[in-house]
Assembly symmetry: C2
Homo-oligomer: 418 residues x 2
C-alpha cells in the first residue's frame, strides 16, 4: 500500500446519516439519575416495584416450564395469549378477533411496527406537539413533516386544528393520539372529541394510531371507550402489559385490521424474529387464573392513593403560583410553574441540591414551546406515599430556591431565568 | 359531505411503499409446517427441545424473583450479564470490555441494529449470495445494492471476489460474514481467508459484520478465532444465547467499538425500550453457576451424534447422486442434489406425501442461482437421532419419487423438472 494508494481510497466505514443528528435520550438520562443514592424520582413512567406480583410470577414460571419445554423454543405467537387479549379488549368495550391481535415487545415496539407499516420517509403526520418522547424517537428516523396540534389540559387533543390541517389539504400518514391518561398531561380525551376525530378519519380516510398503555388505570368512573371500540378499520390500537403487569417482560399488542397482520409479521421477523415465547407463556398462564383483574383493581386503589397524596402535597407546596389538573387516568401529573422558572435548569438544581427528580416539560415537545419550558411531568405510580410526601417537600424547596435565584437574577440582569 | 367533496379527497391511508414488494417469509412457512401432524422437520435452525435445561431455568426463575423484584421493572442493561459475555468472548479468543458489549433481542436484532447504524438507503454492501435469509430480510428494507460473492463449501466466502469489487471502486457500507458454521453451508471460513478479509478491511477501511450464533457448537477441534479476535475496530461482532441456551429468551449481544454504543442505545430505545430485564437476570443467574460451559459441552456431544447420524443416513440414501460436506461447526448440512431436481417442488412432495420437511436452497439466495435451486439445507440439532434416521428414509423416498416423476417428465417433455 503506497501512500498515494492510501490517499485515493475513500473510507467505506462512515455511519448512517441519522447518527449525525442523533441526540441523547432524556429517558436514559433519567434512568441513570435513578441510580443516584437517596434520590426520589418522579421522572419515569415506572410501575411501583413494590406492587409487582413476584410470588405469582414465580409460581407461573415453575408451572410453565414443567408443563411445556416448548416455552423455551422458538415458536409462533401464542393463541392462548391472544384470546386473553381479546377478552381484555372486550372489557374495554372493544370487539375484536384473535386474527386482529399482533404481539409485540411492549407498546414501544407496537408503535415502531405500525409506523414502519404506515410511514414513508418525509411524509406528513399529525401529532400533539407535547406528547410521548418514545413516539418522537421512532418517527424521527423517517424525518416526517410533523403537523403539531395542542392539547387542552381538560379535554385533550385540539381536534379543530386537526380538521384545519386536513381542510388545508394536508394528507397525514396517520394521526397519533393517547386518548386515555395522556403522557405527559394525564388528561383523557373527551367523548365528543373522540367522535369528531373519528368522523374526520372517515371523511378524510386517515388512520388514527391509538396509543393506550394507561387506559386500565382509571381512578373514578371507567374512561370512555377507546376509539378502536367505535371503528375497526381506521383505528390501529396499541396496548401493553407493561403498566398493568410488569414492564420487564416486554409484552404488548396491536389490534389492527386482519389483512395487515402478514405485513407486521414480516417486519417483526426482520427486527427480532418474535416475542420471547417464555414471556408469552408466562403472561398467558397468569391470565388463566383470572389474577389480572384483581391485580389491576389493586393497582388502581394504590395508584389512586398515591395520586391523592401527590395532589395534596401540590396544594400544600404550591398554593398560588402553579397549575395542575387531577388526572382520572394514567400515572402522570403535569405541573405548570410560573413562566420565569426554566424546568430543565430546575431539574439540575433539584437533583443535585435537593435529591429529587422529574421530567422537564421540554423533553415532551416536538417543536419547542414556552409553556412546556416552565412545566414538568410528575409520575406518581413509582414512589410510595411516604416518598411522594418527602419528594414533594424537596421539590417545593427546589422551586423556592429557584425562585430566589430567579428574583436575584432578574433584579441583577432583567432577563435571565433560572 | 357532498359526493363532489368525497371525490376530491385523496386517501391518506395508503401504506408504506415496502408493503408493495413484501413477500412471505420462508421461515414462517416452515414454522407452520412444523405443526403438521407427524411431520419430521429438518427445516428450521431450532435447538433440540429435549435438551433445554428446564429444571435449571425453573430454579433460576425462583431465585431471581426472590432476590430482586427489580427483575420485573424497567431497567438498564445488566452489567453482570455483560461481564459474563466478556468471559464467553475471552473463551473464543476475543478480548473486549463490558463497555463494548451491547445487549439485544437475539442475534436478529443485533443485525438489525448494526445495519441501522451502518446503512443508508441504496448504499452498497457485500454479502455471500447464499446466506442467512434473516439478514436479507432486514437489509431489504434499505434497498441496498448487494454485491454478491460465492461460498466455497470447504473454505467459505470467496474473498478474491470481495477484493475484486473493492479494486473496481465499490465502497460497501459493510461486508456480511458468517465465518463459523455458516448458514446454510455449514462451512467455517479458513484461517487464511479470515486474515485476507481483515487485511482488505484495513486497507479499504470497511467494516465486517461478523454473525456468530454457532461458533460455540464445534464438533472436532475448536474453530479458528472469530475475526473480532484479530481486529477490534473493523469487526462488529453479533453473538447469541439462542442456540446455546434457549431461543425463547431472545437474548443476544453485540461487541462493537465503545463510541458506537450510545448510537445503538438510541435505536434500541426507539425500537422497543430495552431487552427484557427478567430474561437478562435469568441468564446472568444461570451463568453465575458455571452451568453454561457444561451445558454447551453436552450440546456439542449430542449434536455431534445427531450430525453423524445424519451423515451416515446421507451415505446410505444418496450413494452417488448427491454431494455434501461434514460440517465441523453449526447445525446445518447443505445437500446438493442432481440438477434436474427442483428443491422447492421436492419440498411440496416431501411434506405432503412423505411427512418430511427441509429448507429448499432457493430460500437462501439473494440473486437466484441454479446450484441453489437443486440444493437443500438440513438441520440436525432439532430432531432426535431416531427421528433423523426415520426422516432421512422419508427424504430418500421423496427424492426417489421425484426422480421417477422427473424421468417420466423428461421423457415426455424434454425439459421440465419436478
Amino acid at each position: 500500500v503506497t501512500s498515494t494508494g492510501k490517499a485515493a481510497i475513500n473510507d467505506c466505514a462512515q455511519h448512517a446519516l441519522w447518527t449525525e443528528r442523533a441526540t441523547r435520550s432524556p429517558m436514559q438520562e433519567a434512568q441513570e439519575r435513578l441510580a443516584q443514592p437517596g434520590i426520589i424520582s418522579f421522572s419515569l413512567g415506572l410501575p411501583g416495584t413494590d406492587l409487582f406480583p413476584t410470588g405469582e410470577f414465580a409460581k407461573a414460571c415453575g408451572a410453565v416450564l414443567e408443563a411445556n419445554p416448548q416455552a423455551l423454543q422458538y415458536g409462533p405467537p401464542s393463541h392462548e395469549l391472544k384470546s386473553h387479549i381479546v377478552s381484555l379488549m372486550r372489557a374495554r368495550g372493544v370487539s375484536c378477533h384473535e386474527r386482529q391481535v399482533f404481539l409485540t415487545n411492549g407498546a414501544q415496539q407496537g408503535l415502531h411496527l405500525i409506523i414502519s407499516l404506515l410511514l414513508d420517509r418525509g411524509r406528513q403526520i399529525i401529532a400533539e406537539n407535547i406528547s410521548y418522547p418514545g413516539f418522537h424517537q421512532i418517527v424521527g428516523f423517517y424525518e416526517p413533516e410533523v403537523l403539531p396540534v395542542s392539547t387542552d389540559p381538560k379535554t385533550g387533543m385540539d381536534v379543530d386544528k386537526v380538521e384545519w390541517y386536513l381542510a388545508k389539504g394536508m394528507r397525514p400518514a396517520f394521526v397519533y393520539a393517547i386518548p386515555d391518561g395522556h403522557n405527559p398531561f394525564g388528561v383523557s380525551m373527551s367523548v365528543e372529541k373522540r367522535s369528531r376525530l373519528l368522523a374526520l378519519a372517515e371523511y378524510y380516510r386517515f388512520v388514527i394510531v391509538e396509543d393506550d398503555p394507561y387506559g386500565s388505570l382509571f381512578y373514578s368512573d371507567p374512561p370512555a371507550n377507546p376509539m378502536r371500540a367505535l371503528c375497526g378499520h381506521r383505528v390501529y390500537y396499541v396496548g401493553s402489559f407493561s403498566k398493568i403487569l410488569a414492564p420487564s417482560l416486554r409484552i404488548g399488542w396491536l389490534v389492527v385490521p386482519d389483512h395487515l397482520v402478514p405485513y407486521l409479521s414480516i417486519i417483526k421477523e426482520a427486527c427480532d424474529i418474535h416475542v420471547a415465547s417464555f414471556s408469552q407463556h408466562l403472561v398467558a398462564h397468569l391470565l388463566n387464573s383470572g389474577f389480572l383483574t384483581r391485580h389491576v383493581e389493586g393497582l388502581r386503589s394504590e395508584y389512586r392513593r398515591r395520586r391523592n397524596t401527590m395532589l395534596a402535597a401540590l396544594s400544600r407546596q404550591f398554593p398560588s403560583d402553579a397549575e395542575w389538573e387531577s388526572p382520572d387516568c394514567g400515572i402522570y401529573i403535569w405541573l405548570r410553574l410560573p413562566k420565569h422558572i426554566n424546568a430543565t435548569r430546575l431539574l439540575d438544581l433539584a437533583a443535585s441540591q435537593h435529591a429529587v427528580a422529574f421530567m422537564p416539560g421540554s423533553v415532551f415537545c416536538i417543536h419547542s414551546e414556552p409553556s412546556a419550558a416552565s412545566s414538568l411531568r410528575l409520575n406518581f405510580s413509582y414512589p410510595s406515599m411516604a416518598r411522594i410526601d418527602e419528594g414533594m417537600l424537596r421539590l417545593g424547596a427546589a422551586v423556592s430556591s429557584a425562585e430566589k435565584r430567579s428574583t436575584r437574577g432578574r433584579a441583577m440582569s432583567r432577563g435571565s431565568t433560572i
